[in-house]
Amino acid sequence: MTNARILIVEDEAITVSALRRELASLGYQVAATASTADEALNAVDLHKPDLVLMDITLAGTVNGIVAAVAIRGNFHLPVVFLTAHADDGTMERAVAAGAFGYVLKPFSGPGLKAAIETALHKYQTEIESRRRSNRAA
């Protein structure tokens, strides 16, 4: 799904700039950027992105995993984590938070695209399956 609108939640300004360009070169639109969990929730509400690319270590007191749970719970959007954490514990917490994908830093263009496309496809499948079960009910 090219042209998807993506919200970047990342507190490193340089990484945000690089991500903006990488996403644009991959054919995506950057809907907005945020550096804290609160900003991320406001940005999701305001810009209605198709997917959220979330760092785990954020500025402020709330980390990316908690923010992802809130976004999933309130807006039912797919969240892909983009993080330097590669340990099992963090990955397990990310999966428990309903992660649709996990990209390790430093990211590569093909890796990022594969994770985003997989997440969007999984999200579409989830929506369709929910629709079908609602119709059946």
Binding site: D11, E12, I14, T15, S17, A18, L19, R21, E22, S35, T57, L58, A59, G60, T61, V62, N63, A84, H85, A86, D87, D88, G89, T90, L104, K105, P106, F107, S108, G109, P110, G111
Partner: protein, 367 residues
């Protein structure tokens, strides 16, 4: 400056060991038993210890002249380990008293009327010393464990920060490359990003395995080859990648250098080996032994006639030769009999390189 919400619990990684010695294995049941004991509540352990004292005292009385004084150490150890030194001392005194009661009931004849009391006091003292030593041991063990956990967490955090910084450097290179109009200049920046990527993946492998000194290079080599082929296969060329990598343990320094060497060789093959070819094969091999061996082979154009790596080395090849020397290895660059180029890097095994660290460095070069 941002506020990081970092805590040990967020980053703690259990230390994973590749293997355990026979000595450690023989101690495993004791560790398991102590773990079970450690889970028992203070009250439960004290009550169980009192009951054990009563049982041993009964046996002591029934067996008559046979001394069971040593067996009272069991409840003393149980109470001390689980409920602390005070409980241990209490059980020690109780044990000595129980022994005294049993001894009096048996009406042993002593040379002096105070002798049984003296013996009981000595027993109480011995049990007290055991309880004290054991509680000190337990405290030290807990302190040591806490330190190890804290250091493991710090080390994991350092690796995480290294990776974050590598991401920032990679991002800066990308942003800088955007300002260039020449594709060849941009490619130089991309190559630098690939090198950074290779180093970052090594750090990732290190701290996700929990083994912070040595790692299996095969997994890293496979992942890197797949990633580079995905991103650098020339347009219009169908490449088949074949990775035959045996598990080879290397230390962190060697892994970083070897990773960069593999990166250069693979990029070189992808950039120059297949340009304009509709299809090609790229083979990567890693074999262990007294002398490890890493080979990158392509079936592309091969080396130009009269090629001499010493004279014709570009930056990539110059780096490969320099880094090979750094890991005390040797490089062999040649045309493959089946067509294409074959580069083999021979480097010492982990064991032999540890031995060689004590010896003076030797000059190594092209074979």
């Amino acid at each position: 400056m941002r506020t990081k919400q970092l805590s040990n619990s967020d980053f703690f990684i259990s230390p994973v060991r590749f293997g355990t010695s026979a000595w450690e294995q023989s101690l495993a049941p004791i560790h398991r038993a102590l773990e079970l004991l450690g889970r028992m509540s203070h009250t439960a352990a004290t009550i169980l210890s009192v009951l054990l004292v009563a049982v041993i005292a009964c046996f002591d009385y029934v067996t008559g002249d046979f001394s069971l004084a040593l067996f009272y150490l069991v409840p003393v150890v149980l109470a001390t380990w689980n409920a602390g030194p005070v409980s241990g001392w209490f059980i020690g005194v109780l044990s000595a008293a129980a022994w005294l009661v049993g001894d009096s009931a048996l009406s042993h004849a002593y040379g002096h009327p105070l002798m049984p009391y003296w013996n009981a006091a000595m027993l109480a003292l011995i049990y007290g010393i055991v309880a004290h030593l054991l509680s000190t041991l337990r405290r030290l063990q807990a302190e040591l464990q806490e330190r190890v956990e804290r250091r493991t967490a710090w080390l994991a955090e350092v690796h995480h920060r290294v990776k974050n910084n590598l991401q920032i450097i990679s991002s800066l290179l990308m942003l800088q490359a955007e300002k260039l109009s020449n594709a060849a200049d941009k490619a130089v920046f991309d190559e630098c990003r690939d090198r950074i990527y290779s180093m970052a993946r090594l750090h990732e492998q290190l701290y996700s395995s929990g083994e912070f000194s040595d790692l299996d290079f095969a997994a890293h080599l496979r992942e890197m080859a797949e990633m580079l082929v995905r991103s650098h296969t020339p347009q219009g060329c169908t490449l088949v990648l074949d990775v035959r990598a045996d598990p080879v343990a290397v230390d962190l320094d060697t892994a970083v250098t070897l990773g960069l060497i593999a990166n250069e060789l693979l990029l070189n093959a992808l950039k120059h080996g297949f340009s304009g070819c509709p299809a090609g094969n790229l083979t990567v091999e890693l074999h262990g032994g007294n002398r490890n061996q890493m080979t990158v082979r392509d079936n592309g154009y091969g080396l130009p006639p009269g090629f001499d790596a010493r004279k014709n080395a570009g930056l990539g090849l110059e780096l490969v030769l320099g880094m090979t020397r750094q890991i005390r290895g040797e490089a062999k660059i040649e045309n493959d009999p089946a067509g294409g180029t074959r580069t083999t890097i021979f480097f010492p095994s982990l064991l032999s390189s540890e031995t060689a660290k004590t010896e003076s460095p030797t000059q190594t070069d092209l074979l």
